[in-house]
C-alpha cells in the first residue's frame, strides 16, 4: 500500500498569496494513500528539505509529492533530499503550483481548487512510480575518427593529446584532405601546406594515433561506449613494413599520363604513385585500374610489366596483396569526411543537379573550378605556382570568376549558400594579382558574404587595393571564339547587359558532401539531410553531436565550413569525446524505454519511429536453442527517453520508465469529475 507524503510550499508569498497552501495540504489528506500532508513557508530551504527527510524516516513514506515550483526548478533538489533519506529519488515528483497556478491566477478560490487538482494528479502518479536506478554502461576509451582532412586531423590530435587512443581512417592514400591542395588560405594568405604538413606528420608520429590510410569503414555495430568497427584496409600492392618511401618505383612506371586527382586533373601521375610529395604516410599505392599489370590480369593476360617491382630494392611491391578487414573496439566516433565540389561536367551524380550547360559543362578547357585554380596558384602545383591556362599554357590577362555556381540555385543545384566561395574568390583575385601584375580579375557575384574575423576587411582589400573588379550579376552564357572565352552577363546594379572577353574563367562551385556519405551515415545510424550533410543533434545546443549517442560530427560533412570552422568543430568533438571518456562507466538517466518481452509481438513499429536507432531485434530461443520469436529490445545506452515508441506500440509492450501508461492513466483518473 502506498504511503505518500505531500509537502506544500508557500514559496514565501509566491504561492501563498493566491493559493491557500494549508487548504491544499488539508485537502490532500483525504486522498487514499496519503499518510502525511503538510505545508511550509520555504520547502526548498534546509529546514524544508529536512521536513521531507524526517517524514520519510518517521512515516515510512513510499512516495514524495512536493507541491511547489516547476520541476525544472527544484526537481533535482527534492530528489536529492529524498535519496538522502534513503528513498529512491525517482519516487519523488513535483506538483507545479507556482508557475502553472499561483503566478497566473488571481482568484484565490479558483487557484486553490486548481492547486489541489495539480497536487492530486501528481499524487496519483507517484503512487505508480517505481524505484529506478541510474544506468551504468562501460566505456571503451578509444575513439575512431573517419576522415583525414584538417577536421579529422585536428580531432585525432586533440583526443590523442588528451590521453586517449585514436584510430584515424582515411579513404585516400594520404591524409591531408582538401586543405593540402590549397595554395594560400584566407584571410591571412598563409601557405596552406606550411601550416598543415606539420600537423600531418604529428598524426603519423603520435604514439596514441593509429593511422589507417587507404582504408574505409566497412561496418559499425554497437552503441555509445561500445562500438565495434570493421575497417577495410584496401590493398595498396605495397608492403608498408618493407617500403622506405624512396620513390624509385614511381620513376620507372611507364604509365605516366594519368590525370592526378591531387592536381584536379591539371597534372599527371603514374600508375604507382604517391599523391603528393608531403603525403602521410609516404607510401606509394598501385592504382589497379591504371596499372598495366592489373589491366592485363583483368583481361586474363599474363603479367608483363613489373618495372616497379624490379626497381624496388626492398622487395616491397606485392601485386597479390588483398584487402584486409581489421576490427577495432571504440567508445566514440567522429565523422569528418569533408566535402567535394559540385562538378562542372555534364554528368551529374544526382537527378536534381542539372549542371551548367550555359558555361560549357566544363568542355571549354580554360573554364576551371576553384580547386583547380588552387592547384595552379600552388607552388607545388602542376605549373609551379604560375597562373597558366590549361589549354595553351599562356598567362591569362583577363580572368573572370563566377560565384554561386550550384549554390543558392534550387533549380539546378543547391538552395544553400556554400559559405566559403566569397572568401576564396576574393583570395583568388589577390593571388592572381600578385602573380599577373598586368592582369585584370573580374568577379560576378550575387552578394558578398564576408562574415568572419578579418573577412570583410579581406574582401574589401581585394576590391579596393588589389584591383579586382566586382560586378553584381550573373553570367547567362559563355562560349569559345578562337582562344577567347566570350561572356554574356547582366549587371544588376547598372541594370544593363554586359559582354566581355576572358582568357580564363573560374567557377566557384558549390560544396557538397563526399560521395558515399549516405552509405556511411546508414552504417552509423546517423541521419542526414536531403543534400547528404550529416544532421547535428540540435542546431544550436548540440552542434557537434549526432542523434546517435557517441557519434560526433566535424567539418564540411555537416554543412559547408571553412578551415577555422572545421577546426573549431573538430576540437569541440574532441572535448565531447574526452568528456565521455572521463569515466570508465557512463552514467545515464534511467528514464528510458523498456520492452515487456512476454507481450511484444515483434512488429517493430517502435524501431521505425525511434530517432536514435535504440531498438534492436532480440531472439527468443527455446531450450533447444531454436529461435521461436524475434522481439524488440531497447538499448538503454542509446535510448533518449522520448517515449514515441510507447505511443506507437499497439499492445503497449514498451514502457517509458518514469512516464509509464500506468502513471499517465493515474494522472488522467485523478482529473475526473
Amino acid at each position: 500500500m502506498a504511503r505518500i507524503g505531500v509537502f506544500v510550499c508557500h514559496c514565501g508569498e509566491n504561492i501563498g498569496r493566491t493559493v491557500d497552501c494549508h487548504g491544499v495540504a488539508e485537502a490532500c489528506k483525504d486522498v487514499p494513500g496519503v499518510v502525511h500532508s503538510v505545508d511550509y513557508k520555504y520547502m526548498c530551504s534546509d529546514p524544508g528539505q529536512q521536513m521531507v527527510k524526517n517524514a520519510i524516516a518517521e512515516k515510512g513514506l513510499t512516495g514524495v509529492v512536493v507541491a511547489a515550483c516547476s520541476p525544472h526548478m527544484h526537481e533535482k533538489t527534492f530528489r536529492r533530499a529524498t535519496a538522502g533519506a534513503g528513498l529512491n529519488p525517482f519516487l519523488c515528483e513535483m506538483a507545479n503550483v507556482r508557475e502553472h497556478c499561483s503566478w497566473i491566477h488571481e482568484d484565490r478560490e479558483k487557484a486553490t481548487v486548481k492547486a489541489v487538482d495539480i497536487t492530486k494528479t501528481i499524487i496519483e502518479k507517484v503512487k505508480r512510480n517505481v524505484p529506478l536506478n541510474t544506468i551504468r554502461i562501460p566505456v571503451t576509451r578509444r575513439a575512431l575518427v573517419i576522415g583525414g582532412g584538417i577536421a579529422g586531423i585536428q580531432a585525432a590530435l586533440d583526443i590523442a593529446d588528451g590521453g586517449r587512443e585514436v584510430i584515424l581512417v582515411e579513404k585516400g592514400p594520404s591524409i591531408g584532405g582538401h586543405m593540402s591542395q590549397l595554395s594560400e588560405t584566407f584571410p591571412t594568405l598563409d601557405c596552406s601546406q606550411c601550416i598543415l604538413t606539420p600537423r600531418m606528420v604529428e598524426v603519423y608520429q603520435h604514439p596514441r594515433i593509429k593511422l589507417y590510410a587507404y582504408s574505409e569503414v566497412e561496418s559499425v555495430e554497437g552503441y555509445i561506449g561500445n562500438f565495434k568497427v570493421t575497417v577495410r584496409r584496401k590493398a595498396r600492392s605495397v608492403d608498408e613494413d618493407k617500403c622506405n618511401g624512396c620513390g624509385a618505383c614511381t620513376q620507372v612506371c611507364p604509365n605516366k599520363k594519368i590525370p592526378s586527382e591531387f592536381d584536379c586533373g591539371l597534372g599527371k601521375r603514374t600508375a604507382i604513385y604517391v599523391p603528393f610529395p608531403q603525403a602521410v604516410p609516404n607510401l606509394p599505392t598501385v592504382d589497379r585500374n591504371k596499372c598495366l599489370l592489373f589491366m592485363n590480369r583483368a583481361k586474363g593476360r599474363p603479367d608483363t610489366c613489373k618495372k616497379c617491382a624490379d626497381a624496388c630494392a626492398k622487395g616491397a611491391i606485392d601485386f597479390d596483396q588483398q584487402d584486409r578487414l581489421v576490427t577495432e573496439d571504440v567508445g566514440a566516433i567522429v565523422v569528418a569526411t569533408g566535402y567535394q565540389l559540385y562538378t562542372i561536367g555534364k554528368d551529374q551524380p544526382k537527378d536534381n543537379l542539372k549542371g551548367y550547360g550555359e558555361y560549357g559543362y566544363g568542355t571549354i578547357p580554360d573554364v576551371i573550378d576553384g580547386l583547380q585554380f588552387e592547384r595552379l596558384a600552388s607552388a607545388s602545383g602542376p605549373t609551379s605556382g604560375k597562373i597558366l591556362r590549361p589549354s595553351d599554357g599562356k598567362e591569362p590577362k583577363r580572368i573572370v570568376f563566377l560565384q554561386c555556381i550550384g549554390s543558392r540555385d534550387p533549380q539546378k543545384g543547391m538552395e544553400y549558400c556554400s559559405k566559403i566561395c566569397c572568401m576564396y574568390v576574393a583570395k583568388h583575385t589577390m593571388l592572381y594579382h600578385h602573380k599577373v601584375h598586368d592582369g585584370q580579375a573580374t568577379v560576378f557575384y550575387m552578394d558578398i558574404r564576408a562574415a568572419g574575423k578579418g573577412y570583410e576587411e579581406f574582401s574589401r582589400r581585394a576590391i579596393e587595393e588589389e584591383g579586382a573588379q566586382y560586378i553584381r550579376g550573373r553570367v547567362s552564357r559563355m562560349w569559345r571564339e578562337g582562344d577567347v572565352i566570350k561572356i554574356l552577363g547582366f549587371d544588376t546594379l547598372e541594370g544593363e547587359p554586359i559582354e566581355m572577353d576572358a582568357d580564363m574563367v573560374v567557377l566557384a562551385t558549390a560544396m557538397r558532401p563526399q560521395p558515399g556519405i549516405d552509405a556511411l551515415a546508414q552504417k552509423l545510424s546517423v541521419s542526414y539531410d536531403q543534400h547528404g550533410f550529416i544532421n547535428e543533434a540540435h542546431p544550436k545546443l548540440r552542434p557537434v553531436e549526432t542523434n546517435t549517442a557517441g557519434i560526433f560530427v566535424a567539418g564540411a560533412c555537416q554543412a559547408p565550413r571553412d578551415i577555422p570552422d572545421a577546426v573549431a568543430m573538430a576540437s569541440a568533438t574532441a572535448s565531447k569525446v574526452l568528456g565521455l571518456f572521463a569515466n570508465e562507466m557512463l552514467e545515464r538517466e534511467p528514464t528510458v524505454a523498456c520492452v515487456n518481452e512476454a507481450n511484444c509481438a515483434g512488429c517493430f513499429h517502435c524501431e521505425r519511429v525511434c530517432a536514435y536507432g535504440a531498438v534492436e531485434h532480440k531472439d527468443i530461443k527455446d531450450r533447444a536453442g531454436n529461435v521461436v520469436r524475434v522481439i524488440a529490445y531497447v538499448n538503454p545506452g542509446v535510448c533518449q527517453g522520448c517515449g514515441t515508441c510507447q505511443a506507437t506500440c499497439p499492445s503497449k509492450s514498451v514502457e517509458l520508465q518514469g512516464f509509464t501508461d500506468e502513471q499517465i492513466w493515474g494522472e488522467i483518473q485523478a482529473l475526473g469529475v
Binding site: H72, E99, H100, I104, I118, N547, G641, G643, A647, W665
Partner: protein
C-alpha cells in the same frame, strides 16, 4: 466575454486537460508563470517528455473522465528535443482528429498547438482560446452520457474506474 472573466454564478466552467511536452510547451507554460501572464484557470497540465509520447488513448480516457476539452501541445517542427517526436505526433493526431470528427466529436474541443519554451504569451492565448471555445460548446455531455454501464446498473457493482461517477439508473 473573455476566458479570464469570472463565470457568472452557476455558469458552466469547462474542464480542460492539456498533454504537453516537457521541453517546449511545459517550459513555455513555466515562462508564462514567470512572466505573471494571467490566464483562465480551467486547464490541468499533464507533463510528458515529448508529444511523441502522447497516445490517442490519453484523450479518449480524459473525455471519459469528464474533460470538456483537450489541449495537445509540443515543440514546433524542427525544434523537437528528440528530433522527430513531434513529426510522428503530427501524423498521429492529424488522423485522430479526422477520426473524432467522423465519429461526431466537435473538433473544437481538441486543440493542437506548437508552443515553444519562449512562447509564454502564445501559451496563454492557446489556453484562453481553448477555454472560450469549449465554454461556448458547453459541457461534453455526449461523452459523459456514455457512462451508462449495464454491468454496473444491473449488478450494482461499480467498476473502480467509475467511482465517483454519476451512474444513471
Amino acid at each position: 466575454m473573455d476566458a479570464t472573466t469570472p463565470a457568472v454564478a452557476g455558469g458552466f466552467e469547462p474542464r480542460i486537460t492539456a498533454f504537453v511536452c516537457n521541453w517546449c510547451t511545459y517550459t513555455g507554460a513555466d515562462l508564462a508563470g514567470t512572466s505573471r501572464l494571467q490566464m483562465a484557470s480551467n486547464v490541468r497540465i499533464i507533463r510528458l517528455p515529448c508529444t511523441g509520447r502522447i497516445d490517442p488513448m490519453f484523450i479518449t480516457k480524459a473525455f471519459e473522465r469528464g474533460a470538456d476539452g483537450i489541449i495537445v501541445s509540443g515543440c514546433h517542427p524542427a525544434d523537437c528535443h528528440y528530433n522527430a517526436g513531434n513529426y510522428h505526433a503530427r501524423r498521429r493526431f492529424a488522423i485522430f482528429r479526422e477520426l473524432m470528427d467522423f465519429l461526431g466529436v466537435d473538433t473544437g474541443r481538441i486543440t493542437f498547438s506548437w508552443v515553444s519554451a519562449s512562447e509564454g504569451g502564445k501559451w496563454r492565448d492557446v489556453v484562453n482560446d481553448a477555454v472560450t471555445r469549449v465554454r461556448a460548446l458547453g459541457p461534453f455531455t455526449d461523452y459523459r452520457k456514455l457512462v451508462v454501464d449495464p454491468v454496473a446498473t444491473a449488478t450494482g457493482v461499480v467498476p473502480p474506474e467509475h467511482v465517483g461517477k454519476e451512474v444513471p439508473a
